[in-house]
C-alpha cells in the first residue's frame, strides 16, 4: 500500500491562511514525484467551510478536525488533538507552512509522537529513492540537504514562498471530506491567550511603496541613518530597515521589513548593509529588482540580488546620492 502525505492547512477565524496553498502545491509535487497519496487536514472549532474549499483541489481526502477547545489557538490543544488524530490516521510525511503558529506547536507535537520536524525547509529532492529536504543554515550562508532517519512520521514545515500557490492543481471532482471530532479533556490546555492586537496604527504602509531603500546592521550607528534617508529622498523612495535597526530604536517598528514586520514587493529594493538573514529575505524577496550594497562578499543578500556592489556603503552611498540627483535633473 502506498504511504500517505498529509498537508495541515492553517486557518484563523474561518479564513484560510493563503500560504496554505503553497504547502498544498508542495504536497502535490512530492506526491506526484514519489507516488504517495495526498490528503489534507484543517483544524478549528468550526472548519467545514474551509474543508470544502480545500477539497476542490487534487487531494484524496480532506479531514475537518473539530473541537471547541481549538479556538483560540493554544499549543496544548493543537498538539493534543493532532496526536489523537495521528494515532487513528497515521501519515508517513506531514507538511505544514512555517508560520509562527506552526513553529509554536509542531516541535511539541513531533516530540509527543517521538519523532522530529524538519523546520523552515525551502524545497525537496528525490534522489535514488531517498527523500531529502533542503533548508537554509547559518543564516542562509549555506543550504543543507536533510534526510529523515526516524521510524515514525516525518514532519516538515516550508518557508513562505518556497512553492507557488498558483501551481495548486484542482481536482477532477471534490475530494471527500471526513469530519473528525476530538474531545480535549479539561486540564490539557494550560495557556490562556487574550485577543490578538496591533501595537499602534501603522503610519507607514511599505507594501504600497514602489521604491524602498532599506538599511541593516552595516549602517553601524544611529547618526548614519541620515545618509540612507538622503538617498531615499533623492530617489523618491521609502526608508525601511531590517529588524536589528528597529530593535535598537534607530527607526520605528513600522519601517521593519521581514517575517515580524512588513512583507513588501516594490519595483526596486535597495539593501544597504543588510546581510540577508532568512527572516529579512522572506519579507522582501518578492521585489521585482534588488540591489545590494554590502562589504561582506559572502552576505546571503547577494544570492538574490540583481545588482551587487561589494563595497563599504559609506564609500558608495555619498557619490550615489549625487549621481541620482544628477540623473533626475538631467531628465
Amino acid at each position: 500500500m502506498a504511504e500517505s502525505i498529509l498537508v495541515i492547512v492553517e486557518q484563523r477565524e474561518g479564513k484560510l491562511n493563503h500560504v496554505s496553498w503553497e504547502t498544498i502545491a508542495a504536497g502535490q509535487a512530492i506526491a506526484d514525484h514519489i507516488g504517495w497519496s495526498l490528503e489534507a487536514a484543517v483544524l478549528g472549532s468550526s472548519v467545514a467551510a474551509i474543508a470544502s474549499e480545500v477539497a476542490t483541489k487534487k487531494l484524496a481526502k480532506v479531514y475537518a478536525i473539530e473541537s471547541p477547545k481549538l479556538e483560540p489557538y493554544t499549543p496544548d490543544a493543537f498538539a493534543y488533538v493532532l496526536k489523537e488524530f495521528f494515532e487513528k490516521h497515521p501519515a508517513k510525511l506531514v507538511l505544514m507552512p512555517h508560520t509562527y503558529q506552526v513553529r509554536d506547536f509542531v516541535p511539541k507535537l513531533a516530540t509527543a509522537l517521538e519523532t522530529t520536524a524538519i523546520s523552515d525547509a525551502i524545497g525537496y529532492k528525490y534522489d535514488n529513492g531517498k527523500l531529502l529536504f533542503t533548508r537554509q543554515m547559518f543564516q542562509g550562508k549555506f543550504v543543507a540537504d536533510v534526510s529523515f532517519a526516524g521510524p515514525g512520521a516525518c514532519f516538515v514545515t516550508f518557508q513562505n514562498g518556497s512553492f507557488r500557490a498558483d501551481k495548486v492543481e484542482a481536482g477532477a471532482a471534490a475530494a471527500p471530506v471526513e469530519a473528525v471530532t476530538v474531545d480535549v479533556p479539561d486540564g490539557v490546555v494550560r495557556n490562556h491567550p487574550q485577543e490578538v492586537f496591533k501595537e499602534a496604527k501603522q503610519a507607514v504602509d511599505l507594501t504600497q511603496a514602489e521604491i524602498i531603500v532599506s538599511v541593516g546592521r552595516g549602517i553601524k550607528e544611529q547618526k548614519n541613518i541620515e545618509l540612507a534617508k538622503q538617498l531615499a529622498d533623492a530617489m523618491g523612495a521609502e526608508l525601511a530597515a531590517s529588524r536589528p535597526i528597529c530593535d535598537s530604536g534607530w527607526l520605528p517598528m513600522d519601517r521593519q521589513v521581514g517575517s515580524s514586520g512588513q512583507t513588501v514587493a516594490p519595483k526596486l529594493y535597495l539593501a544597504l548593509g543588510i546581510s540577508g538573514a532568512i527572516q529579512h529575505i522572506v519579507g522582501m524577496k518578492g521585489a521585482r529588482s534588488i540591489i545590494a550594497i554590502n562589504k561582506d562578499s559572502e552576505a546571503p543578500i547577494f544570492e538574490i540580488a540583481d545588482y551587487a556592489v561589494v563595497s563599504n556603503l559609506f564609500d558608495v552611498v555619498p557619490p550615489l546620492i549625487e549621481e541620482v540627483k544628477k540623473a533626475k535633473a538631467g531628465g
Binding site: I211, V316, E323
Partner: protein, 256 residues
Amino acid sequence: MNILVCMKQVPQKDAPLKLNEAGTWIREDVSYEVNEPDAFALEEALRQKEKHTGEVVVITAGPARASQVLREALAKGADRAIHLEDAAFVGLDAYNTARAIAAAIKDEKFDLIFTGLQSDDYGYAQTGVILAQILGWPHATIIMQIEKNDAGIRVKRELEAGFFQFVDMPLPAVLTIQSGINKLRYATLIGIKQAKTKPLRKVMLAEVQSAIGANLQKIEKLYVPQKSKNTEFLEGPPAEVARKLAEKLKNELRVI
C-alpha cells in the same frame, strides 16, 4: 524566581565560513559569539531576578570553547553555570539537545526556562519547545514581555505582520525569547572579576548519554546555495560604481 537560560555559541555574524572536507559541516576554526536572541534571554532573566529575587543559571552544550558564553553570562550577573562539555553536542539535533539539557538539570528546580527563539547556525527554532514537552511544562514562543502575577505569568507573544497577543500561563514554563525584548547590558569590571569565583558545573557526555538517542534528522550535505538569479557585480572605485548604479536605476530599472 529561579530561571535557567539556555545559551549557544555560534559563529560570529560576519565570520567567513568554510565547509569541511566532507561537506557536512563548517570548519570550526572561526570566531564565535553568543547566539543573539540568547543574549536577550539572559538579559531578561537578569531583569526578572532584579525584580523578583531568585537565581539565574546559564547552561550551554558544546566543546571547551563554548565556556566563553558562560563566563560572559556570569560576568553580566548570572549566579552559576552548567556546561554540557563535548564537541559531540554540536552535532545533536534539537530533540537530542533538549533531552541532554533535561538530563543535566534533572535535580534542579526552576520556575522558568528561557531560550533564544532560534539559533543562527541550525535555525531550528525548536529546542525550547521540545524541552517544555519533555519536562511536561507549558510553553510560549517569540516572547517580547514577561510580567509575573499571582497565578503565574502574563507574556506578550509576537505574531506575524506586526500583531501581538498576551497569554496568561502558569509556572513553571518555558519561554523562547525574541531579540529586542530589552536593552542588553555590558559586563562591568567587577562583574568580570566576580565571575571567576562563581560555580561552573561540567556535565560530560557520558552522564547524559542514556537520555539521548540517534539523531532523527541528518545533514547529508551542506553547500553554498545555488544562485537562482544572474547577479551582475558592479566593480570599480566608489565614484564609478555610483555612476553605474545611477545609470541602471535610470535606464534599466527606470525608477528615477
